[in-house]
């Protein structure tokens, strides 16, 4: 059997490119369905048919050696998808997007350029935005709900893709280097990108709850008011017509909202809600388990001494662990900011003046007297400045209030 000669990284890149193609096609499909006025119908499941369709075309473009092979695969995939999708608007758009995708892949291969369905980039997020606003305009609840999810997924996909692409090109560029720690690099990079993605995902989830929503909304409304006011200044402006149209839309929305929902549908929604919660909780538990397991493995391997490519890798003890090993008691450091005693104020004043006069930190080897000497103070002041600081910093006795005042007078 012929072995696939691709690395895990290349396979991951392919998967991400494939997902990019699907997400873009899906977003276009969703936009088309919403514009055609069928946004209120369940169109997501049918849209998922674009994944196997895109995947098939993706692989056919890669593997087909003759045009007829690509043609047959295209016909089968598009035909199959349309048949599964049905003869409605969803089916038609699935077919149309299938044809566009097939043509794009074919053109990309023929012109020896990378097909646009294989190049993830941040500007494609615009489609999700368009879908969201179309959903608002054409009153499609599904579109409004899936657009942020689509955008979030696509954003993370882009992050992963950029990272993997950069790692791949980095490793290719430095392939001639000897003792390149490829495995370690890949492993640590994975850790980094998962960490970044997790933090980004948390930020994406948390952002709507941080009041940014209201801020943007109010900013937008203010801008809108200003523009409308400016438009009113123009004779026979379309502003009035716009206002009327908006009012009509609001009335229609209120009418839709006032319609009553049958009890069985309500029950179904509640069931789906429950299942959704269960899936959500399971996913969270799985994530927690995976995280804990990874941390446990890290803990087990923490003090391992290894050798890779002839490099000796040793673990350095973090300060608390090192102090514990040496039976040292860690001193609890209190920040100087909270210290309002005479000693604390003297030290703060010393620090402030030193930074001010030297325009930076002094050399770590300097004594307070040397530091004071570099500060261009008068001789008497420099002596007092160093002496009082040394008392506050190192002496067992505390400084008096008079000493503190003496210190604070040195400018």
């Amino acid at each position: 059997m012929k072995q696939l000669k691709i690395t895990k990284r290349q396979a991951a890149l392919m998967l991400l490119e494939l997902c990019h193609g699907f997400l873009i096609l899906f977003a276009i499909y969703a936009c088309a369905v919403v514009i055609s006025g069928h946004g209120s119908e369940p169109f997501v499941l049918v849209g998922c048919l674009l994944f196997p369709l895109n995947a098939g075309l993706f692989l056919a473009e890669k593997k087909a050696t003759h045009f007829w092979q690509f043609g047959i695969v295209t016909l089968l995939l598009i035909g199959g998808s349309v048949m599964l999708a049905g003869s409605g608007v969803c089916g038609i758009w699935t077919g149309i997007l299938g044809v566009i995708a097939a043509f794009s892949y074919f053109y990309g291969r023929a012109s020896k350029k990378t097909c646009w369905l294989k190049i993830p980039s941040y500007p494609w997020l615009g489609i999700a935005l368009v879908l969201y606003f179309l959903g608002q305009h054409f009153v499609s609840d599904t579109a409004i709900r899936i657009a942020p999810v689509l955008a979030a997924l696509y954003y993370l996909l882009c992050n992963f893709h950029i990272n993997l692409k950069e790692v791949d090109s980095f490793l290719k560029t430095h392939a001639s280097l000897e003792r390149l720690p490829v495995r370690r690099l890949a492993k640590i990079n994975q850790g980094m990108i998962w960490l970044v993605s997790a933090v980004t995902a948390v930020a994406m989830i948390a952002a709507p709850y941080l009041g940014i929503d209201q801020l943007i909304r109010k900013g937008g409304q203010a801008l809108k008011t200003v523009i409308r006011w400016l438009l009113h200044l123009i004779p026979n402006s379309p502003a009035q017509e716009g206002t009327m149209a908006a009012e009509q839309t609001n009335q229609m929305m209120q009418a839709t909202a006032s319609r009553e929902i049958p009890w069985f549908l309500e029950l179904l929604y509640k069931l789906l809600d429950l299942i959704g919660w269960m899936i959500g909780i399971s996913l969270v538990l799985v994530c927690v388990f995976v995280g804990v397991r990874a941390l446990y493995r890290l803990y087990l391997r923490f003090n391992e001494k290894t050798e890779e490519n002839g490099d000796k890798i040793e673990r350095l003890l973090p300060p608390p662990a090192a102090e514990k090993k040496k039976n040292l008691n860690r001193k609890k450091k209190e920040h100087l900011f909270w210290n309002r005693s005479a000693d604390g104020r003297i030290r703060k004043h010393y620090r402030k003046k030193v930074l001010e006069k030297l325009k930076g930190s002094p050399d770590s080897a300097w004594t307070p007297t040397q530091t004071a000497g570099h500060m261009e103070l008068e001789d008497v002041d420099a002596k007092v400045f160093a002496q009082i600081y040394e008392k506050a910093r190192y002496a067992e006795t505390f400084c008096t209030k008079e000493e503190m005042e003496k210190m604070l007078r040195i400018r």
Binding site: L125, A128, L129, Y132, A147, P148, A151, A152, Y155, N159, I162, N163, E166, V167, F170, H174, L177, E178, R179, L180, P181, R184, L185, K187, I188, N189, G191, M192, I193, L195, V196, V199, T200, A203, M204, A206, A207, P208, L210, I212, D213, I216, R217, G220, G310, D311, K312, I313, E314, R315, L316, L317, P318
Partner: protein
């Protein structure tokens, strides 16, 4: 509106993460490039060690460590190196949290010299690998590549000549601090040599034996001056090797030896000289001084060095060994004047095979030809 908020959250978080990473990556990060502690010899291999310390929780997927070294030091197989005016080396590491990575690299010392390392350049990539951060660390270190040893069999003749001169003028004194051993008492031995403790233990009279110290000193005069614009670096290098070998051999035999050259020190720019002495420190000082001789700097005239030597008081009983390719009359006269004022001498002319022998015969001095391979 939620979509905008979500995307803003994502973009802001990415930017913040990159900023935080850019701020934190260099904290508690140290990189050192160090030569092996012991000096090496010309034509031998030595070890260079790169050590990375990352004393923080943040890990660095990619850390490029670059430094430059003199091109006379060549890495084995040219590992990760580009050679132009200098030898530029860059290595890539992947550093975990609280980790120390040590990499040892072997390199070949192609020429004698004093080599320095000054800086280490660190480059890392942003979390998404699409940005770069730079930092330069000071990592001063130096390394001596001592001159190669000359062939022992070839060295035997000049060494014997020098030893002949030394022995003919040697005054022997017993040194009570140079203990050599113990033997049975002979009737001619003085009483103060009896070792009372050992005699009591062995039940017979035993006396201590002491080594003698030689009052004779040897000073090697090394001439690395080029008379014309034509450079004879190979001959001078051979001269340096010969001087190092002779002096170290003399020191091994317990004869105090020193050196005077007209070549300049790489750092101090002064002519290197070492007063006669003995011991391991003398050997070390000799090798370090000869290693630091810079043939690119203009050497002083040998006549000036000889005049200075003549003017010195308390020169004692010395044997002078001149190592030079130059056979000009003024230099020869200067050397003869030095010998006439007390001392014996050997002149070793380091010459290519096709070079003419011009030195006249002299009763005071022995002249030898040392052929240098082209």
């Amino acid at each position: 509106m939620i979509i905008i908020v979500v995307l803003i959250g994502a973009f802001v978080m990415n930017a913040v993460l990159v900023k935080i990473y850019g701020h934190l990556w260099e904290k508690h990060l140290d990189a050192r490039v160090e030569f092996q502690k012991e000096p090496s010899l010309e034509g031998r291999d030595a070890i260079l060690t790169e050590t990375i310390y990352n004393r923080k929780w943040l890990f660095l997927p990619v850390l490029q460590v670059g430094f430059q070294m003199h091109r006379n030091l060549r890495f084995a197989d040219g590992e990760n190196t580009s050679v132009s005016d200098q030898c530029y080396k860059r290595d890539i590491f992947s550093v975990g949290s609280y980790q120390k990575i040590t990499r040892s690299i072997s390199f070949y010392c192609s020429r004698r010299g004093y080599y320095e390392l000054s800086q280490v350049e660190l480059v890392t990539r942003s979390p998404l690998m699409n940005g770069k951060f730079y930092k330069t660390l000071e990592s001063p270190d130096h390394f001596y590549v001592y001159p190669r040893m000359v062939d022992e069999t070839r060295l035997e003749i000049p060494f014997q000549k020098i030893m002949g001169s030394v022995l003919s003028r040697k005054n022997l004194y017993e040194d009570p601090f140079e203990f050599r051993g113990i033997r049975e008492y002979q009737p001619t031995d003085p009483m103060h040599k009896i070792n009372w403790k050992v005699s009591a233990r062995t039940d017979q009279w035993m006396v201590n034996l002491y080594d003698s110290t030689s009052a004779q000193e040897v000073v090697v005069l090394l001439d690395v001056e080029d008379e014309t614009i034509w450079k004879f670096d190979a001959i001078h290098e051979e001269g340096i090797r010969l001087a190092a070998a002779l002096v170290s051999r003399l020191l091994q035999n317990g004869i105090p030896a020193g050196i005077r050259t007209n070549g300049r020190d790489l750092k101090t720019k002064t002519c290197f000289s070492l007063e006669p002495g003995t011991g391991p420190q003398q050997v070390r000082a000799l090798y370090e001084g000869l290693t630091r001789l810079d043939l690119d700097q203009k050497a002083e005239h040998m006549e000036v060095i000889l005049d200075r030597l003549r003017e010195e008081a308390n020169r004692g009983n010395r044997t002078y060994v001149m190592i030079s390719k130059n056979q000009r009359e003024s230099c020869y006269d200067g050397f003869c004047r030095l010998l006439n004022e007390g001392g014996t001498g050997v002149w070793i002319a380091t010459l290519y095979e096709d070079m003419e022998w011009k030195l006249p015969d002299s009763r005071n001095m022995t002249a030898l030809r040392w052929e240098v391979a082209k």
